[in-house]
Symmetry: C2
Subunit: 400 residues, 2 copies
């Protein structure tokens, strides 16, 4: 009789690790801690009444269909809605190129599953989205970080990535300093990638959350045959429904669909019908602007708080949309090492190092301005500034 564990892990399991963000969220989830860490949409933005009405209609008009197994590709009318919506952004697709996923995180997993071999190179921005690294890691890629400037990844950097399986980008409000990739740079990146035969994966969860002007049209609109595009309803409706989508060229769509089928058969059809029922008559045209103005006000509150409290040695760019400030700390400060003190004193954030696949930058933190209300933002930033001043005290800095 053997009492040790009989399980033998696959090699890839060594690359499956807890997300640092999730760990921090757990850490921060205690009374008295103001969390600027998670990318949690403001609960005040959830359209509860519209959801309630839509649920009632779905369970009245199509209860059996909404509760039965359904097709892997997704609910037809929702796929059509997505295709039409993308058309307004310059991506010309029909519904057959839209796959509904269980959140866009699943889209990332499917892309990794279908395109990454152990040892394959995957090119990413610096910083990139840590959840994407987590999705790709089980497929055991190596990462190449493409250097960038204020307009986005440098076109010259693509040459080195020419053998990568793809270049993954979050074009809007998630780049250096919360910036977006500029219109010109998008043109240049698409053209150069096409020359190099380097596929692109464009992940756009934040594009609708602009404050002053909409972002340039998606990169996918500039090279459709070479770009996989991912979208999400998490930030404009509600993340708890787990609804996202992948738009992919005909050459890889069938494999993505089959991989999706193997992964969870289909995205909950109840949720798909519910969301379609909410949005089909133009609801988002009125709803999304209310999120924009809510988030813009909260961005302004955080900006004011940063200006009021933070040491002069910290730098940030004012984000034109999205959910985050990226704050650069003085070079000697390790944001990860400082986190326990911060949580201890009542504020949490995400250390920026996790967003650099090459671990190249540790003196940066990501602060969400959308999750907690304005007055807590001010209090949180004040606390953070205090922690930072203590960390700059040499005695504490050495101890950290």
């Amino acid at each position: 009789m053997n009492t040790s564990t009989p399980f033998h892990f696959a090699q890839r399991a060594a690359r499956i690790k807890p997300s640092i963000i999730r760990e921090i969220l757990n850490l921060a989830d205690r009374p008295g801690v103001i969390s600027l860490a998670g990318g949690l949409p403001s609960p005040n933005s959830f359209p509860v009444q519209a959801m309630r009405d839509a649920t009632e209609r779905v369970l009245r008009d199509a209860p059996q269909q909404a509760l039965q197994y359904a097709s892997t590709e997704g609910f037809g009318p929702l796929r059509e809605w997505v295709a039409a919506d993308l058309g307004t952004q310059g991506i010309q697709v029909d519904a057959s190129k839209v796959l509904i996923t269980t959140g866009s995180q699943q889209g990332l997993d499917l892309v990794g599953k279908v395109l990454i071999d152990p040892g394959s190179q995957v090119a990413v921005e610096a910083p990139t989205y840590v959840g994407a690294l987590q999705a790709f890691n089980p497929y055991e890629p190596t990462y190449l970080s493409v250097a960038g400037d204020d307009e986005g990844p440098l076109v010259a950097g693509l040459e080195a990535a020419r053998h990568a399986r793809f270049l993954y980008m979050v074009p809007n409000f998630q780049n250096r300093g919360g910036r977006s990739i500029s219109d010109t740079r998008r043109d240049e990146l698409a053209a150069r990638a096409q020359q190099l035969n380097l596929p692109l994966v464009e992940d756009n969860p934040y594009g609708d959350l602009w404050f002053d002007e909409p972002p340039p049209r998606p990169i996918a609109a500039r090279w459709q045959d070479g770009t996989v595009y991912l979208g999400s309803f998490s930030k404009i409706l509600a993340p708890g429904l787990r609804l996202g989508y992948v738009v992919a060229p005909t050459s890889i769509m069938p494999k993505l669909v089959q991989a999706k089928q193997a992964a969870d058969l289909h995205t909950p059809i109840f949720n798909q019908r519910l969301v379609h029922e909410v949005i089909r008559n133009g609801f988002l045209d009125e709803h999304v602007p209310t999120i924009r103005s809510l988030y813009k006000a909260q961005r302004d509150a955080m900006l004011a708080a940063l200006q009021r409290h933070m040491p002069a040695s910290c730098r940030w760019t004012v984000p034109g949309g999205g959910m985050f400030f990226w704050v650069e700390l003085p070079p000697g400060i390790d944001a990860l090492a400082m986190l326990p003190q911060a949580v201890e004193q009542g504020v949490a954030y995400v250390p920026g190092g996790a967003f650099f696949a090459d671990n190249s930058m540790r003196n940066v933190m990501r602060l969400s301005f959308v999750t907690v209300p304005a007055e807590q933002i001010d209090q949180g930033i004040a606390t953070l500034a205090r922690v930072l001043r203590e960390a700059q005290d040499p005695s504490i800095r050495l101890a950290a």
Copy 2:
């Protein structure tokens, strides 16, 4: 400018293929075809009113929590409910060993992701569940089919599987002839697997659907440290919600949770809260028996139809639960080759060959008695018998 596709598939993509069942469902999805193919629960069994009431309560009492991001492991009270329910079946676990998944199909995918290397051996029953093969395939295992008899897989067959990463079993109503693994055999299998240090994966979607007496207690109850157990709400509530769960030993639970996080962050919390709200006050104690008697009546209808119409050369066992008859055809008949004629004449089924990982048996078909009502069952079986008689006509048989 390169116009060919720039995408390069991962090697595993060659193993990602359409499910034959899904293909058949598409084929059968046209007017006039009676489908005995899909494992679709009867829509008459969906508790629409209870769902409606629960939705209202969830969106009234906890709308912001139900629509926000949530923990990867699952909704605490639902995990506790599952743990308590398993306790009544002899599996003693606390909630920390329960991971809520996006349908139990996702549980299979996660198990494969964490445990299967390319070339790993995975042991399965013959027949096994084709969806499990589909979930495991992307991780590139080889399969070893363990021979069985009327009581289940042969214990002597485990020796050959001793280097397998695990033995996958569906213990209830899915084995040879729709049988379940007997109580004695479960004891023997658990004991022998433990001696051999061979992990077990027990997939139990049908266990609650017994007609005469409940199945023996789960194999997991007999060797908890070596068994991963999968359950589902699809067959007792509604599959369109995609809610299942994995119960796993402490030695592998963290990796499963982290793999789940990478795959879709978490299962829709709205669905989890909804289901918990439906079931928390004993609803299933009244609801499941109504499904049992509905399905038992439909089983009886199919049995009567088989006896009335089918050629004497066909054999079947009367299933004591679940959703399917397994009908063995005369040796020369290939159920897959016969399918187009059957669909042409208005009836669809699943050729049994797909359920044999070693492709060892082609003269068998799986017939669902739960999806279509009794009168259609009779008509469908009558058509099937006619197709079969024609197929047995030597001229047609050669042409097939």
